[in-house]
């Protein structure tokens, strides 16, 4: 993957964008620091600088993951290299899980860079490590869920670009659901990926949210395997 420029371009885009957000937030914090010091129970450096960056990271993943997952299966089909994988003594499950693992490894790299930015604040002050950990876990789960959806959509088509656009459309759909879900009691809240992620941003790691993400990941990985299997049976 690192042989292709795409990975580097995406990494640079993610890092550049988030660093920008991060610096802006740190800047704001510096300006209002004096006021904050006088306010009791004021939000700290972590809430003001780090959390908004993770919020922005959600949008960045939403845009960049379709680009990363688009080729995973569709290009193998397009270049006829799928036959190589299918004829090899490995199962469809191994193929999909392998692709997913590669995506997760790449996500971890993105997360490591984000974490490094956050931890750079340690040089100048105290930060809430628990809150950052919750944010990182949330972002990882979000990225994994997005990746599994992206891989599934990549299974549906032979054209990477179609896969990317479809995946982006689905993510946008989830995002719109999140916007629409203003009423906390509404069922939209329940299915909204972004609402689920907001819990992590506030530092809450709740079992239903974690379970929700794990279910989404498992579901789409399972669907991808079924899709590939069905092509062998009926295509």
């Amino acid at each position: 993957m690192f042989a292709s420029p795409l990975a580097w371009v995406v990494l640079a885009f993610v890092q550049g964008f988030l660093a920008n957000v991060f610096l802006k937030q740190v800047d704001t914090f510096m300006i209002i620091q004096a006021q904050l010091a006088r306010t009791p129970n004021a939000p700290g450096l972590t809430e003001l600088a780090v959390v908004p960056m993770f919020g922005a990271a959600q949008m960045v993943l939403l845009m960049s993951i379709p680009l990363l997952t688009m080729r995973l299966i569709s290009e193998e089909k397009r270049n006829q290299t799928m036959a190589l994988l299918v004829s090899a003594p490995i199962s469809m499950t191994q193929i999909i899980v392998g692709k997913f693992t590669a995506m997760v490894a790449f996500l971890c790299l993105i997360l490591a860079l984000i974490a490094a930015m956050s931890f750079s604040l340690l040089a100048g002050g105290a930060i809430d490590l628990g809150l950052i950990a919750a944010n990182l876990l949330g972002l990882l789960l979000l990225g994994m869920a997005f990746s599994s959806i992206g891989i599934f959509i990549s299974c549906l088509t032979m054209h990477p670009v179609v896969a990317a656009v479809m995946t982006l459309a689905v993510f946008m759909g989830f995002w719109v659901i999140g916007l629409a879900a203003s009423d906390p009691g509404s069922w939209l809240n329940w299915v909204s990926i972004s609402k689920r992620f907001e819990g992590f941003l506030d530092g809450y790691v709740s079992l239903p949210d974690v379970t929700f993400f794990l279910v989404v990941i498992t579901l789409f990985i399972f669907l991808s395997i079924r899709k590939l299997d069905s092509e062998r049976l009926s295509a």
Partner: protein
């Protein structure tokens, strides 16, 4: 039908594949012995590729069973696939990788133990003549070398059965000769199934042949059988002062005469017992036709196909 013969490396029986109502392959059976090369011959769309996809586990057969070295491909695909090497119609190569990188990846994919990976890669490169190209990007190689990479990929794990789908398509004549001799070499260590629509290719390489037409096997014999089937069916005679077609037909009994071009006739429908060659020569001298060329024409691919398929229809 359960075949337990241990010398069979691959046995497929009653393979049928339907796409909806469209039957792509119907009741194809194959039995391959160790060190044997079988040719699957057929016009485009005859079901060669579909058959090969089924044998390699890329497509599930609608009916029928496949056993590789006695292991059922459908019940136990992972073990069975370790014994198969497959080159699809389009070589499944990653063009952005180097030959070495690609072959290493494939070796790992085929579960070659990590100690043996580099020796397996070297061996495969040597056998396919790729050693010089080790560090080249596959995308920058010529079609012939990409085809070799495809073959290297199929033999890297020393499979019992090598399956090659149209391995010589799109190559120049020199490359075709090289690939053919490579396949012959492969046949010494592996069992090989090869598909093609070129009849001479089958005659040059294969030990036995199956001809497919519209998904059905219409011919299944040793290679000698095919030669016999092709030859002795017709002769081609050229005359300086040709007689008319009618005269020829009248003088020679039990034959069909057709004009190839001015002065050249094709005499077909011959049986071995009443070979008309002698008669024809005597007649020519007697009638002063000026016979100057007489060749035992071999039936072309088209004629073989036509004959086999019309036979098939009259049989029904």
């Amino acid at each position: 039908m359960v075949d337990t013969d241990i010398s069979l490396t691959l046995s497929a029986s009653g393979l049928t594949r339907k796409y909806g109502n469209n039957v792509a392959v119907s009741d194809v059976s194959l039995a391959l012995k160790k060190g044997e090369i079988i040719g699957l011959l057929g016009p485009n769309g005859a079901g060669k590729s579909t058959t090969m996809k089924m044998i390699t586990g890329n497509l599930a057969p609608t009916e029928g069973s496949i056993k590789v070295c006695g292991i059922d491909l459908i019940d136990d695909p992972i073990i069975a696939k370790t014994k198969i090497g497959y080159l699809p119609e389009i070589p499944p190569v990653y063009k952005e990788l180097r030959v070495n990188e690609y072959l290493k990846l494939v070796a790992k994919l085929h579960k070659v133990s990590s100690k043996r990976v580099s020796s397996a890669v070297d061996n495969a490169k040597e056998r396919t003549g790729l050693t010089e190209m080790s560090e080249r990007l596959i995308g920058s190689l010529s079609k012939g070398f990409q085809q070799r990479v495809g073959i290297a990929q199929a033999i890297i794990h020393e499979p019992e059965v090598v399956i090659l789908d149209e391995p010589t398509v799109g190559l120049d004549p020199n490359q075709i000769i090289e690939i053919r001799s490579l396949i012959k070499e492969l046949g010494e260590h592996h069992s090989v199934i090869l598909s093609t629509h070129i009849l001479p290719e089958v005659e040059a390489i294969c030990d036995s042949v199956q001809i497919l037409h519209k998904g059905k096997v219409v011919f299944d014999d040793e290679i000698g059988g095919l030669r016999k089937f092709r030859s002795g069916k017709s002769i081609q005679a050229s005359f300086r002062t040709p007689p008319t077609k009618e005269i020829l037909e009248k003088k020679l009994t039990n034959v069909k005469v057709s004009q190839v071009r001015e002065g050249v006739y094709r005499i077909s429908g011959l049986e071995l017992e009443d070979d008309p060659t002698d008669v024809l020569v005597q007649l020519s001298v007697h009638e002063q036709w000026g016979l100057f060329e007489l060749v035992g024409a071999q039936a072309s691919v088209e004629e073989v196909f036509v004959e086999l398929t019309t036979q098939d229809e009259t049989a029904i």
